[in-house]
């Protein structure tokens, strides 16, 4: 192993240790909740990235898996009285089952039709859950009494680390190479004997698994919410934007994106709190402006800097980040 690699691994271990120690050092609930939020978004963005970034299939239905994982876990845990971890696993299972079910018809849809098809599917989920479980799901009193933030934090930390680690190893495997080949030139990949469908399905299943896992963690963390909430399209859209702004198709991209999103939102809310002005006789308070800012950044990234922060960094210091491009790696084997 090269010196650089040893340093990199040491840094990552150090970072993980720091993250593990965080709740013991920082007691403020507000801060830990922020960290939880970052990890939640990271899980969503990194899982979306596996299908959308590495395999190039822009799915707009990611929330379906997040929501299904969350719903299954919550129902089994609170309503059916299962212990938490089996419920969590069942949630992942449900998400994976859904992915397997829709995989074949979904990938018959090409390009833009795939995107709107997945969007339609997630919306079906959203509306169906809203109809079947319209009441708020609340943590029962005894759970509320013993509610502790730290375990939630650790769960999200483990989920996020697992997601990123899986993405990392998947990308470096032959399967990952195949996925990226499908992204770059699907027909060329097929002619090399790479089954586009199998790789896309694999990416979808892995992506769904981790979205479902994140959903289960969501079910564990949030005390009261409408069961349809995790099915809302904003979860897909936010995850997608984070992946793009950070650097789509990279490992660190979703990390940067999630951090940036949460930090910027907090900063905007804090600095713009109470800032109001009157436009055309209407009172406008700026603290809700963060989505507009994000939307603008997102558009700028898509138009001018498709690699996001990672590309920007790469232009400044081409040392550490490597966007693994298929063309630079030999496909022959």
């Amino acid at each position: 192993m090269s010196g650089k690699q040893i340093i990199a691994i040491a840094l990552i271990i150090a970072l993980l240790v720091l993250l593990a120690l965080l709740p013991m050092v920082i007691k403020a609930e507000y801060s830990i909740n922020l960290a939880v939020l970052v990890l939640l978004y990271l899980g969503l963005a990194a899982s979306w990235n596996i299908l959308g970034g590495y395999t190039g299939q822009t799915s707009l239905g990611h929330a379906a898996f997040f929501g299904l994982g969350s719903l299954t876990t919550r129902l089994l845990w609170l309503n059916a009285g299962w212990p938490f971890f089996p419920s969590l696993l069942a949630g992942c299972g449900a998400a994976v089952a859904l992915a397997l079910l829709i995989g074949w018809p979904a990938f018959k849809l090409r390009g833009v039709y795939f995107a709107i098809g997945t969007l339609a599917l997630a919306q079906v989920g959203n509306a169906t859950v809203a109809n079947l479980w319209p009441a708020i799901s609340s943590l029962p009193a005894e759970y509320l009494a013993t509610y502790q933030l730290a375990p939630r934090y650790y769960l999200f930390l483990v989920v996020a680390v697992l997601t990123v680690a899986t993405a990392y190893f998947l990308v470096r495997s032959r399967l990952g190479l195949g996925m990226m080949a499908v992204r770059e030139e699907e027909e060329a990949a097929e002619s090399l004997g790479i089954s586009a469908f199998r790789h896309k399905l694999l990416a979808l299943v892995v992506s769904a698994f981790f979205a479902g896992l994140t959903g289960g963690a969501f079910a564990f963390h949030f005390t009261a919410y409408y069961p349809q909430f995790p099915f809302a399209p904003t979860w897909t859209f936010d995850a997608m934007m984070m992946a793009y702004i950070g650097g789509v198709g990279t490992i660190v991209g979703p990390i940067i994106g999630a951090l940036f999103f949460v930090v910027t939102r907090e900063l905007l809310v804090l600095t713009l709190q109470g800032v109001q002005f009157v436009v055309l006789g209407i009172e406008v308070s700026l603290e809700d402006l963060h989505l507009t800012v994000f939307g603008l950044l997102f558009i700028l990234v898509v138009l001018f800097l498709p690699g996001g922060f990672v590309e920007a960094w790469g232009k400044i210091r081409p040392v550490f980040e490597r966007r693994t491009k298929v063309k630079e790696v030999s496909l022959a084997s």
Partner: protein, 293 residues
Amino acid sequence: MPTLVAQNLAFGILMGGLYGLAAVGLSLVFGVTKFLNVAHGELLMLGGYASFWIFTLRGVDPFLSLPAIAVLLVLIGLILYTLLFSRMVKLPEADKIKNTLLVGFGVSLILQNLALLFFTADDRGITTSYAGKAFTLLGVRFPIVRVASLAIALVCLVALHFFLRRTYTGKAIRATVEDWEAATVMGINIQQVYLLAFVISAGMAGMAGALVAVCQSIVPTMGLDWTLIALVVMVLGGLGNILGTFVGGIALGVTHALTNIWPGGEYREIVALLLFLVVLVSRALGLFGSKEG
């Protein structure tokens, strides 16, 4: 019971015209430029709000302000296209489709957020002096605002149909839809054709929004719902087929009406989307005539 069915169907058909108008712009843009403008619903929303504010602040009847709404949305479409979408025209096919999808989505987010900021999250509706009036035919009530909306939608669609069929510019647009390279070597400026399709689409969406404000209600978050409606109608009606889009709209309206009866109004969106998915996948499998995509 039969009156209930008939009443629901009547409402469905009346709304169907509006659905068709909402969809035709999206269909036109998609057919011509191959972009799917996911911000289409937000353009419709803006049209609705423009009409609402003109009515509330200046007392102008929403049917009379329609031309102004159309012009306003054409201008907004012009700005959006020139600033954003025109930059992506030169990209290779796959990138073009993906990037326009993403940018459109960014635009929809911004417009929705700004609308929430400025207009608040309250439902709004335009209630004119004649809002409650209706005429009754065979025991079925036909509210005149809805009948007028259907009529206007029909007029717009027919006008667009004739524009595309009979005018020189319209034929240039159709030529571009079929084969843009062949169109280019005849001196047709593709950028201009794309721009024209985009602004017409925005204008139509805006007018549809104004009519929605009168017939139903508007809210800043309505964009996604209406984009989905437009998508469903577009897929049902067939791309680039103006009159087909009208029929598709009616079909969706009728589907909504029947869903109202059973299993119930809350399932309208679900049934429509499932129908959409079935048609989409069937077409992709070649079960339904020409393959999409």
